[in-house]
Each structure stands twice: as C-alpha cells, then as structure tokens.
C-alpha cells in the first residue's frame, strides 16, 4: 500500500484533535485550577482553598433552587417535545396536499437564532403593548392583560413552552428519518392481517422508532440542559431569580457577581452531569450499532 500522509490516520486526525484539545482542555484545566483556589473578582488566585468553593456552591439555596428548576426545565421541554414531535412526524410522513410547505413551516424555528426568538417573544409577551395579549383579548379569551414575563407564576411555564417550540424541528427531523427507515411491507402485512391504525402504531411504528426516540431524548436533554439564550434574553433569570436555571445562575455567578471560584466549581459539577448524560448516549448509540 502507498505510504502517504493521506493514508496516515494520525496525521489526518491531528489538526481536528489538536484544535479541540487546545480550546477545550486548556479552559477545562483552568476551571479546575480556579475551582480549588481562593480567587478574587479579577481572576487572581490567592492560594489553595481545597473544596471551599464546592461547599459554598452546594450550600447556596439559590443553587438548590436553580437545580430543581433545571430538572423541571429539562424534563418539561424534553417530554413536551417528544410527545408533540411523534404525531407531527407521523403526519408529515404521510402523503398529503401541501406537505412540502407544512414541513418548511414546522422546521422554521430551527433556522432562527434562539436569541432572536427569545427577543421577539419578550416583546410579544409584554404586558401592556404585547401582541399576544391583544390577540387573546381580541379573541375574547382574556379580559385583563396578563404580565406574562413579569410574574414568576407565568414566566417559567412560558419559557418552557418556547423551549418546546424551538426543539420540535430537530426532534421531528430525527423521527422522520426513523420513519423512512421502516420498510413499507411491514405496514402492508399489518393491513392484510386486519390491524387498525392504533395497533399498527403500537406494534410496528413505536417499537421500530424506539432507537430514534432514545437518541432524541438524550440529545435534547443535553441541549436543553445547556440552553442559555431563551431565559437570558427574556428575563435574565428574573423576576427575583425565579427563572434561573443552572446555566444562567452560572453566568451570573461568574460575570455579574464576580464569584469566579464558585462559578468554576459549578462548571465542574455541570461537566460531571453532562459526562453522565454522554455515557448514557454512548450506551444507546452502541446498542443502535449492534442492531
């Protein structure tokens, strides 16, 4: 075989690997170092402090509240997204008039930056001049303007709803790919056997879609867990920190309050959680490989 740098896998993977290693491992090392030191708000290390930063984070009631909210945020968005995306994908997989347009519309939120989406919703949801309130009043659904984002009771659910809306396109795309991999003769056989629509779905579609659902759950969990712009651009975690999740709390700790040590410790804790998700993902992906 020819000896050439183009057949040497180490040479071929080196640029990607080195770039990723430099820009990911170096900051990770930095975070590790800061988290174990007493550090001032300008980032100067003032000596080893053991696990003080970790205990400070873990005993902060705001951290616990943000943790709990992150669970609601992640589970709410992922579950809502999956539950809506399955029927949407089933419909879009059928042949009907205008399917091309329907697909484009459903996929649209994917193309828009989360920041822009969040800013537009912030305006649409504004209490006095927001167009959602005027639309709902016009339809006779509400009598009084609702301060969607200014009260904690509505702000967080509304943000979760926006999160679901922007996660549907990716998830539906995964499911459409899954549906197209199911051979047609299975459905023909089911029809010959006299199965009804629900039986076909429960006995054929759902089991064969299972690996795609698993992947969609894990990938959505990771991206929703990390999702920053929706909350930051609508409420910045307010009112009174009532919509802070871990990522916004982390950002505030580091860049608004200047508590770099605690923020680094929190980063590492989140990194450990993400690693845990990743292991689950690898397990699922490997199972998909063997099938």
């Amino acid at each position: 075989m020819n000896r050439s740098i183009f057949t040497n896998p180490y040479v071929l993977t080196a640029p990607a690997f080195l770039l990723a290693a430099f820009i990911i491992l170096w900051p990770l090392f930095q975070i590790g170092e800061i988290s174990l030191n007493d550090v001032n708000r300008f980032g100067q290390l003032r000596g080893f402090s053991g696990l003080d930063n970790f205990t400070a984070v873990l005993s902060d009631p705001q951290f616990l509240a943000a943790c709990w909210r992150t669970v609601i945020w992640t589970v709410g968005i992922v579950a809502g997204t999956i539950l809506i995306s399955i029927p949407v994908a089933l419909i879009l997989n059928q042949d009907f008039y205008g399917r091309g347009i329907a697909r484009v519309i459903i996929m649209l939120p994917w193309a828009v930056s989360l920041t822009m989406t969040a800013i537009v919703w912030r305006w649409a949801l504004s209490g006095e001049s927001g167009m959602l309130n005027s639309a709902l009043r016009g339809l006779g659904l509400i009598d009084e303007n609702i301060q969607w984002l200014a009260q904690s009771g509505t702000a967080f659910p509304v943000q979760i709803a926006i999160g679901i809306l922007v996660s549907i396109p990716f998830t539906t795309t995964i499911f459409l790919g899954g549906l197209s991999s199911i051979p047609d003769d299975l459905y023909e056989a089911a029809q010959l056997e006299g199965a009804n629509g629900w039986q076909t779905f429960a006995e054929i579609t759902l089991p064969l879609l299972r690996p795609f659902i698993n992947i969609a759950v894990v990938m959505n969990t990771i991206s929703v867990f990390n999702s920053f712009p929706i909350i930051w651009a609508t409420t910045q975690g307010g009112p009174a920190n009532s919509t802070d999740i871990l990522v916004t709390y982390l950002y505030k700790l580091g860049f608004n309050f200047g508590k770099l040590g605690e923020a680094s410790a929190l980063s590492l804790l989140m990194f450990a959680l993400l690693l845990f998700f990743t292991v689950i993902y690898v397990r699922l992906a490997m199972r998909g490989d063997r099938a």
């Binding site: 690997f17 059928q94 991999s181």
Partner: protein
C-alpha cells in the same frame, strides 16, 4: 376515489398541525408587523398599523449599527465554517477508512467535546482569551466556534463517508494514482453533498451563537448580529421596538430561506448520523 381520500387526509393533517403552525408563525407576524408600525404606534397594542412604514428598515440600518454587525456575523460564520470543515474532512476520512490504535479515544474525545457546550466552559474560555490578549477579537471567536463545530462536523461527515465504497479509491490506487490524487479526483467529488450540508449547519450555528459572543465581544464594533440586537433590548429604559424587530427580521429571513430550501437534505443526513 383515491383522490378524495387524499383530500380528506390533507384536510385532517392541516387541521391537526394548525395550532403548532400558528405558534410557529406568530413570532414572524409579530416581527414583521411591529417592524412596519409607525414609531408612534409601536407601544399601542393594536395588531394592524395605520400605515406601513417600510422606511423603518432603512432607518433601522443606521440606528442599530446593522451594517457592521452584519459584516461581523458574516466574517465569523464564514471563516469558522471554513476552518472547521478543513480540519474535519481529514479527521472524518481517517475515522471512516482506517483502523488505528487510539481511534476509540479520538471518537470519545470528540463525543465529549460535543456534549460540552460553550456555556459550561465559558469561564475557562474567557481566561484563555484574556491570557492570549484576544478579548474582543473576532478571529479568536472564529477559532472557538470552529472548535465547537468540529465534533458535529466529523460526526456528520463520517457517517456519509462510510456510505462511499472504499473500492473506488483502491481502484484509483491500482491505476497508479497517488493517495492525494485518489482523494481529490475520486473521493471528494462524491463527498461534496455531505460537505455542503455540514458546512451549512456550521454556518447557521455560528450565525446564531450567543453565549461566546456575549462574553468575548465587549466592544460594539465587534458585536455580531444576535449580540447587537440583544444590546438594543437589554438593560435599556426605552427600547425602539420597531427598529429591534426590523433588525431581527432582516437578520433572520435570509437564513430561514436557505434553511427552508435545504431541510429535505437534513432529514436524511441527520438520521444517518444519529444511529451510526
């Protein structure tokens, strides 16, 4: 008979999808209508403006510093896409074609780097750029975006590359082509569709990115579009919403059109990548 059943199915399908579609299209309607309202009517909660102020788009351009932000966004998105594609193609090629010691390690490293979003690393990244004196530098942002796109690009490309038969390059080798010629003449033309889709994905990611730009770009001259628009809204007493919406609309529509045109390719590409 067959046609009428399809018609029935179409009506049912559209009816079921309509609530979701309204929710999807609502922000676009809000953007466009607000952008076209006269400045005096913006805060009045009416839906329809008394007159359409198309010149809002023109006054927005200078009022929001749109031109410079557009240029910065294009610069960062194009260069970071190019960089991540250039390093990802050989890596994906190696991973799809060769067995080698450490292959598993490289794959796992890429996987972990994909799971790690910039937000978790943001403090370390900030310190990295401060140490290198590259804060507020668009080129530094290019490198960071490219890096965080590598894992995804390699993943997408590798799954496509595995579907291109290895025999083709081996045939070229036996014909006397060097590995480089085989790659350039035989392999890369076949891989071009995959490279294009991956590049567009990277471009959209960079175009829409928020956290890194928010943290690393401190000076208005270096703001990208999302940060520029965000800065018009965050922490201000009076927000010129018609300008903000005009800017958001102008920044969004080109990408949305490209995306609408391409989304059919994504279904196949992503599904292929997801289960590999």
């Amino acid at each position: 008979m067959k046609i009428s059943s399809k018609l029935k199915r179409s009506i049912v399908s559209w009816l079921i999808l309509s609530p979701l579609m309204i929710a999807v299209l609502f922000p676009f309607a809000v953007m466009l209508i607000t952008a076209l309202k006269p400045a005096t009517e913006v805060l009045r909660p009416t839906w329809w403006p008394s007159s359409f102020q198309w010149q809002n788009f023109i006054t927005m351009w200078s009022a929001t510093n749109f031109g410079s932000a557009l240029w910065n966004s294009l610069y960062v998105a194009v260069l970071s896409t190019a960089l991540s594609i250039v390093v990802s193609i050989p890596a994906a090629y190696a991973l799809s074609r060769f067995r080698f010691v450490g292959k598993g390690f490289v794959q796992q490293f890429l996987l972990v780097s994909q799971m790690l979003s910039p937000i978790v690393l943001v403090i370390g990244l900030f310190r990295l750029l401060v140490a290198l004196k590259l804060l507020d530098n668009l080129n530094a942002v290019v490198f960071v975006y490219a890096t965080f796109n590598i894992a995804f690009s390699v993943w997408m490309l590798q799954s496509y590359f595995s579907t291109i038969p290895k025999d083709l390059e081996e045939a070229a080798w036996t014909e006397g082509a060097t590995p480089w010629q085989a790659l350039r003449r035989v392999f890369l033309p076949l891989a071009l569709p995959a490279v294009t889709v991956t590049a567009i994905f990277s471009f959209i990611n960079a175009w829409n990115e928020f956290v890194i730009a928010l943290t690393m770009l401190r000076n208005q001259d270096s703001y990208t579009l999302p940060i520029q628009v965000f800065s018009l809204v965050a922490g201000r007493y009076t927000v010129e919403w018609h300008h903000v919406m005009a800017a958001a609309f102008t920044a969004t529509i080109p990408i949305a059109i490209v995306f609408a045109w391409l989304q059919r390719y994504l279904v196949r590409g992503l599904a292929l990548g997801a289960v590999k």
